[in-house]
């Protein structure tokens, strides 16, 4: 194809047969599905759609799709999208992670990788331009995140030096990897890059683990693919630089300023498994993190002028030696306040443990909080927890439970299934309904932004109607072409752009996209055309579900029960989600995206989008709810 923003190639790796080939992409696919989440959704539908319900997300039949987008490397701030049939939702989640991997992969000549089958023994994939190899990883299997990364960096740099001795010093290749939680197929396992960024939502660390794939290493020596309009592209890069550099608060504190402020000022932060959403714990202020634990004040991914991340080290006390990127808001909330932890040291420690294990900070924190509440209520006892006293605010206790989850020890084996599935199983064991304590939507823990105070951005249907369930970066919102809507987030995840560099001027993504690819899009056109097509496929597979669980939109297009309980404290005390309002908004949203009264995409809408096969597959779902 014509070179404009794409390599036009994916690597295709069959781990069962140990076969590697290069897949040429058709221009039509790129024009309509863009890249990242969009292209992943299209591949997954084409290859697995016919028997979607039977595909075990943790079986060799699942595909792991790793997809950059045309803006990867161009739009400031490097990210890549990871996808497949999700072991959390049984649908498709586009899960992005920051770093340099996408740029290295694109410079190696590929826009993405499709991994099928499963290896018998632990392996990693090594990519250096056209040299691609499946290599033994038995010496890495079982290692924690940081050890995996450091050893693999050294091993692969040595390998590059051995193969290309004249080059000089090789930079580190980019590495996507999993920890023990992924190896042990926990549904809360992440795919990581650096230490520690994670593609969290979706549970794709377990998909990598099921394929015995410990890591993917990439070093590309070429340039990024040529663009349609180089002059305009550079001028847009500079525009984004200026906008981001001007955002001093975001640069200085990152989202980590919210660990205090979202609780205090917005009353929408999860506290002790969402029993409360308001706090005034100044001990958890960003200034405390800064003075106590930051050792790097600005830390960023490829080409990022914001660098909202920081590196934290606990230097003294019982958690000394904990190293991680300073918890961002989500991890401050889920591994801090949600566990009753209100100190930077405790929060950094739990985050560091979670990172080493390869557990998702959000979904891991969600299930830890769930267990914490069951312990508080006496539903889970010390005996159930192998002697662990799971008291709110005890970092060591929650870290220990995280370890039990990652290694599936004791009750960890059940909790490793994620909050929803664990609640079903524990509910059965305990003979009671545990759903009131489950804060998730369609298998995915809800992001750390509540809806009860109505002060934060998620609307009452934000999670209930999202095709990515609890994912706070992909929420349902009206109008569907607004910059915070799921349709537009599909563009961010498909072009693969960091939403924090997208916010300052959401109109730039379309200009950028056109300068790089030559394709014209607008928010309205996208939300009613190509973007909507991707949304419909995601909705369809979410409804098809299986094999262990199938969502009923009449029941599961809803908020967690907890959100209907009144807030017990703070300035918005007494407020709760309102059932009638949720129902009204749901109807409006269904109408706007072309779903029928049961939330199933309408036949005529699908056909207009050219999705006949999706329409046909949904016939049985329509029949189910007649």
């Amino acid at each position: 194809m014509k070179s404009r923003g794409y390599n036009g190639k994916f690597l295709e790796v069959d781990l069962s047969r140990e076969k590697i080939k290069v897949l040429d992409l058709e221009e039509e696919l790129l024009e309509h599905y863009v890249g990242g989440r969009g292209v992943a959704v299209k591949f997954l539908w084409d290859r697995l759609g016919a028997e979607w319900e039977k595909v075990d997300p943790l079986g060799p039949e699942n595909l792991l799709v790793i997809a950059a987008g045309p803006l990867t490397g161009y739009y400031p701030g490097g990210r890549i999208c990871i996808s497949g049939k999700s072991p959390q939702s049984n649908g498709i989640i586009g899960s992005t992670v920051g770093g340099e991997f996408g740029v290295d992969l694109r410079c190696a000549g590929y826009d993405g990788i499709i991994i099928s089958g499963a290896s018998k023994d632990p392996v990693y994939l090594f990519i250096k331009d056209e040299d691609v190899e499946i290599r033994d990883a038995s010496h890495l299997w079982g290692l924690d995140g940081k050890k995996t990364l450091v050893r693999l960096t050294k091993e692969c740099r040595d390998e590059l030096k051995r193969r290309y001795p004249r080059f000089g010093e090789w930079k580190d290749p980019s590495i996507l990897y999993i920890g023990p939680a992924g190896e042990n197929l926990t549904r809360v396992a992440v795919v990581m890059e650096k230490w520690t960024h994670a593609a969290g939502y979706g549970g794709y660390g377990a998909v990598m683990g099921s394929k015995m794939l410990k890591a993917i290493v990439a070093k590309g020596s070429g340039p990024l693919p040529d663009v349609y309009d180089p002059v305009k592209t550079v001028s847009l890069i500079n525009r984004v630089y200026d906008l981001c550099i001007a955002r001093d608060g975001m640069r200085r504190w990152g989202t980590g300023s919210a660990g205090y402020s979202v609780g205090y000022s917005l009353s929408s932060e999860p506290i002790r498994n969402w029993q409360e959403e308001w706090h005034d714990e100044k001990s958890f202020g960003v200034d405390r993190f800064e003075r106590k634990v930051w050792v790097k004040r600005y830390w960023g991914d490829y080409g990022c002028p914001t660098t909202c991340l920081k590196i934290a080290v606990v230097k003294t006390g019982p958690y000394a030696g904990a190293i991680t990127d300073n918890p961002d808001y989500e991890l401050q909330a889920y591994l801090g306040t949600n566990l009753g932890i209100f100190t930077p040291e405790g929060n950094v420690y739990v985050s560091s443990v979670i990172d080493d294990l390869g557990i998702c900070g959000i979904n891991g924190g969600n299930v830890l909080g769930f267990a914490g509440e069951l312990y508080q209520r006496g539903i889970l006892t010390k005996d159930d927890l192998d002697g662990l006293e799971l008291k709110w605010g005890d970092p060591k206790a929650f870290a220990k439970l995280a370890e039990m989850i990652a290694y599936r020890k004791g009750i960890g084996d059940i909790l490793a299934e994620g909050t929803f599935r664990a609640a079903l199983k524990l509910g059965e064991m305990k003979g009671r309904d545990l759903m009131p304590y489950v804060v998730q939507v369609k298998g995915t823990g809800v992001g750390a932004h509540g809806i009860r105070s109505k002060m934060d951005y998620p609307t009452p249907i934000a999670y209930a109607c999202s095709v990515q369930g609890g994912d706070h970066t992909s929420v349902a919102r009206l109008p569907i072409h607004s910059s915070g809507s799921e349709l537009i987030r599909i563009m961010c995840d498909s072009a693969v752009v960091c939403i924090f560099n997208f916010y300052p001027d959401p109109s730039l993504i379309w200009k950028f996209y056109e300068a790089v690819t030559g394709y014209h899009q607008t928010a309205e056109k996208w939300a009613n055309g190509d973007g909507l097509r991707i949304l419909q496929i995601q909705r369809a597979v979410l409804l098809l579900g299986g094999p262990d669980f199938t969502w009923d939109p009449r029941i599961h297009d809803d908020n967690p029960l907890r959100f209907y309980e009144p807030l017990p404290s703070g300035p918005y005390k007494g407020q709760a989600a309102d059932r009638k309002e949720v129902e009204d908004l749901k109807r409006q949203y269904y109408e706007a995206v072309g779903w029928d009264e049961n939330g199933i995409p309408k036949s005529e809408v699908l056909r207009k989008l050219g999705l006949e096969s999706v329409d046909k597959a949904l016939e049985k779902v329509r029949e189910r709810y007649k």
Partner: protein, 176 residues
Amino acid sequence: MSKKSAIWIMRDLQRCSGCRLCEIACSLYHEGKIWPEASRIRVFKLVPGLEFPHFCTQCHDYPCVNACPVNALSVNEATGAVIVDKEKCIACGKCIDACPGRIPHLHPNGKYILICDLCDGDPQCVKICQRAKYNVLWIVPRSGVEKQCRLYARTPEEITEELAENIYGKFKEVYK
């Protein structure tokens, strides 16, 4: 440009955010493309959190220039930069071995060596680092620092080790 305007890029590596804006600016200027491996300044990340830019320090005795068997390297008297004659360079790598920091590297096309040329006195990496307020790189007159320059020519491993000492302190060995 007169000799007294010769410059040096002062560097404070501990502040590096690993953002790679310098690499992007460098490769856009020299190659007209975003091309990480063809950038004359390269950000290494052997351990996360210990990122740093690795680029020519213009040693006062220019060991690379002296080691070149085909006279492909010369010093720009005005700026102090090492200039590579792409036509003469045989990509033998002798300058890499001569450099105390193993800083030069081959262009990915394999044909010639890449060494920072100070953008003829107006380094693009410095401009973007300053514009983004990271202040890892800034320009000083070469006259006051000439004898110190060579100290900064360290290998990626050496620099990583030293940064680890400073940033991770007593925990620097934990993840080895």
